[in-house]
Amino acid sequence: MDIQSVVVPSYQPLPFPAPAWFLQVLLVLGFYLHALPMNVILGGGFIASALLFLGRNDKSSYTYRCGKALATSLPIFISFAITQGIVPLLFLQLLYGPAFYTSSILMGIAWLSIIGFLLFSYYLSYIVIYKYLKKEYSPARASKASLILLVMACGFALIGFLFSNNMTLMLSPAKWLSIYKTSPFGTYLNINEPQLLPRYLHMLVASIAVAGMTLGCFGLYIKKRNLEFAQYMLKMGSKIFLAATVMQLPIGFWFLKSIPIEMTQKFLGKDLICGSVFGASMLLTLVAIIAAAMVVVNASTTSFKTALIANALIILLMIINRHQLRLHYLAPYVKPDLVPVNTQWDLLIVFIVSAVALIAYLIYLSKISIRAYAQNNTQIKSEGAESE
């Protein structure tokens, strides 16, 4: 291919404020902290909708109550997902701006529409709570709540799809020029990309698994107050987790096949680091599956905690793998390591000190809220309170 047909913008003629490796770490960690709540809302919306629908005829059924607990907790997760999203967005722009800005422009209209969908779905998440779930119960209301949650979840799923589009388009500089020559209006979507569909499905199904784990966590939380309900939640959550994780096996395999063969080989062991991260995540998946299966049988909290921790680690490892895939794709075109560095020590120290202070502050705040709810919740007042 004519080398001139690959046009990659240059970096700004300015230094990075810290070494590239450090910024990469912040990018990966930031994305991890964003992915957790993001997965909860993406999968949680679908699961809550299904549970409310299944339990719509009986408000005292565990199914209905599980759905309600999940649905009422969503707004908090949404706002944390948005806030946490700032971090990876910032470092992605800094480190991979030349690729990321370009792909965003090529799909500009769809990219901007994300904000609309986000506000729409976020708004629906409140409508469900205040117009339906907190109002007096009726089967019709429950069905409507389930429907609105489904619409909301589809909104989030669409946002995820658009993100997958951009995250894959930014990896293919060779396509850009011809796309732009076809339309400069930002109307492109990366649908022809072989890895798009499996990659997206991989994320979507993972979010269902995470939502299952979230339900299990609610179970852990109310265990002292209502053992039977807690065990129901633990089992239900683990079942959802298991179902989703089993589905991941073919999807993950498909994803692995959809990327160029030299990259697949890297994950299968040709590159030591990629291969070990990938291998470790596979082992942990096995652990998580076995542990979750045990929870389904005996609702053991120890097994659940094992599955939970394994799952949290799997997500982190998968995110590292995802980052490595990006590095491999972009290595010939975008080289953040070559950008000069002028470390802003003063700001860096302020930042680190503030970060530690923030963590301390968050602990302080959660103590206050836990105490506030422990006092009031000797019996279960409302599901909304539990999900706190």
Binding site: L14, F16, I86, L94, Y101, I115, L118, P184, L365
Partner: protein, 455 residues
């Protein structure tokens, strides 16, 4: 020239930013001002042991806390999305100059959000003194988010010593940092007060309504008293060249091309005057007669002032994104000379990528147009090239462009509003060829129109 240009027909990219920014500014000013309002009103309720105020606060905290903070965050990300589509080089620079400041902003924001949630979900669950403490913390954190973003926004107009030494500190705490921070804070209090006026005007109990309306009206005081002084201070720190542009505009008002800025200044002054009179004669002197409908009108006026003032601030910065460093079209000031010598279509990754193998002069001219003019003009819509060119034919367009290339203020009176054209002589010819097609489409018959591209 480094990135592909996102073409937004008729509306133009800047308006996409404008629309998103206006929505965001209204919501985020609510959020910050709202934090302050809730805290101080709770202070009042606590001191007076007044359950009615408590009830009022509880009723409104859902909107204030949850909707404004999250909608503020979402539209804030929206601005980020839009500016990176419309001016990726400018956005990239701001991100890179202030990466860690942005990261710090995120920390404050996370703290604000967490506090907001605890504030909202602990009503009646913790004792009143403890809740008041949370409210105060909420106030502090919501102001803190402003402390950072204000440095970055003011940097764009007054980068101060940063242009020489590239030290973030000098860029951040620049000349307009303090006046701008104080102006913003007082505007936020005013917006919070206005929103609270709207909600207070719906209180049923007449005596309590009168009381609350008066309390809320006081929130507009800082802006009235300090506003003019702070604005003068702010304008004093703004670059002289920008002030000159305003005055040229005022002198030639209504006729010249410079008049938009002047018009923005007028509009902003007239609207603020209206709001001041309105606030004094309305809620403050006559709280009893203050109805919901008046309150809404009042708020619309207030939002209009904020909108025009922000618009004016944006105009002040033109033709730069970062004053004295980078122009609106993403070209850095330092690059212009080199580009004029070697030619624009040789420089910049995407501009040259698109130009390679392109021999048609009109097509080459169109590329120059997209990169150098479209950050402010559209072909046919907003600030349309077709209209701007007026009666000019190809030769006079060419001499206009030659003038636009000059760096000397006497030779190029447009320097204050348009960046100097960065192109060599051939490219100027190509650009003129392209622009004249825009012009003639207006007048010539369709048949002649078809022949034009072959020109």
């Amino acid at each position: 020239m480094n990135y592909p240009i996102w073409v937004v027909p008729y509306l133009g990219g800047p308006w996409v930013i404008g629309i998103m920014a206006i929505i965001h500014i209204f919501i985020s000013h609510f959020a910050v001002g709202g934090g302050a309002f809730l805290a101080l009103a709770e202070e009042l309720a606590y001191k007076r042991k007044d359950d009615r105020i408590y009830q009022y606060l509880k009723d409104h905290s859902r909107f204030f806390v949850l909707v404004t903070t999250v909608a503020g965050a979402a539209t804030g990300v929206g601005i980020w999305f839009t500016i990176s589509l419309v001016s990726p080089d400018g956005t990239g620079s701001l991100i890179q100059i202030f990466t860690l400041a942005w990261a710090l902003e995120y920390l404050f924001f996370a703290a604000e959000l967490a506090t907001a949630f605890v504030y909202y979900y602990t009503w009646d669950r913790i004792d009143k003194a403890a809740h008041l403490k949370i409210a105060r913390l909420y106030f502090i954190f919501s102001c803190f988010t402003l402390v950072i973003i204000n440095g970055i926004i003011t940097f764009m107009l007054t980068p101060g010593k940063w242009t020489q030494n590239h030290n973030w500190f000098d860029g951040f705490f620049n000349e307009t940092y303090w006046p701008s921070l104080l102006i913003r804070l007082s505007i936020m209090f005013a917006i919070a007060g206005m929103y609270a006026l709207v909600t207070s005007s719906r209180i049923k109990d007449p005596e309590f309504r009168t009381y609350m309306v008066r309390f809320c009206a006081k929130w507009l005081l800082p802006v009235f008293i300090l506003g003019p002084i702070l604005s003068l201070w702010y304008l004093h720190e703004v670059p002289q060249a920008t002030i000159d542009t305003i005055f040229t505009g005022i002198q030639t008002s209504g006729v010249g091309n410079f008049s938009i800025l002047a018009r923005a200044v007028y509009l902003s002054l007239v609207l603020s005057g209206t709001v001041i009179l309105f606030a004094f004669f309305g809620p403050y002197l006559n709280p009893r007669g203050f109805t919901f409908r008046i309150a809404i009108l009042f708020m619309i006026c207030g939002l209009a002032v904020t909108g025009t003032t922000e618009w004016m601030r944006e105009l002040l910065r033109k033709p730069y994104v970062i004053y004295d460093y980078m122009y609106s079209n993403g070209i850095r000031k330092a690059e212009i000379d080199k580009i004029s010598q070697t030619g624009f279509l040789q420089q910049g990754k995407w501009a040259s990528g698109l130009a390679q193998g392109q021999d048609n002069p009109t097509a080459r001219g169109e590329i120059v147009f997209k990169y150098q003019c479209m950050s402010c003009h559209t072909e046919k819509g907003y600030r349309a090239m077709q209209k701007m060119l007026g009666e000019r034919d190809r030769d006079s367009i060419q001499s206009f462009l030659q003038m636009l290339k000059e760096h000397d203020k006497d030779k190029n009176p447009y320097l204050g509003i348009m960046p100097p054209l960065a192109a060599n002589d051939d490219e100027i010819k190509d650009l003129a060829a392209y622009l004249s097609t825009l012009n003639q489409k207006n007048k010539v018959t369709p048949a002649a129109n078809i022949c034009l591209p072959a020109l």
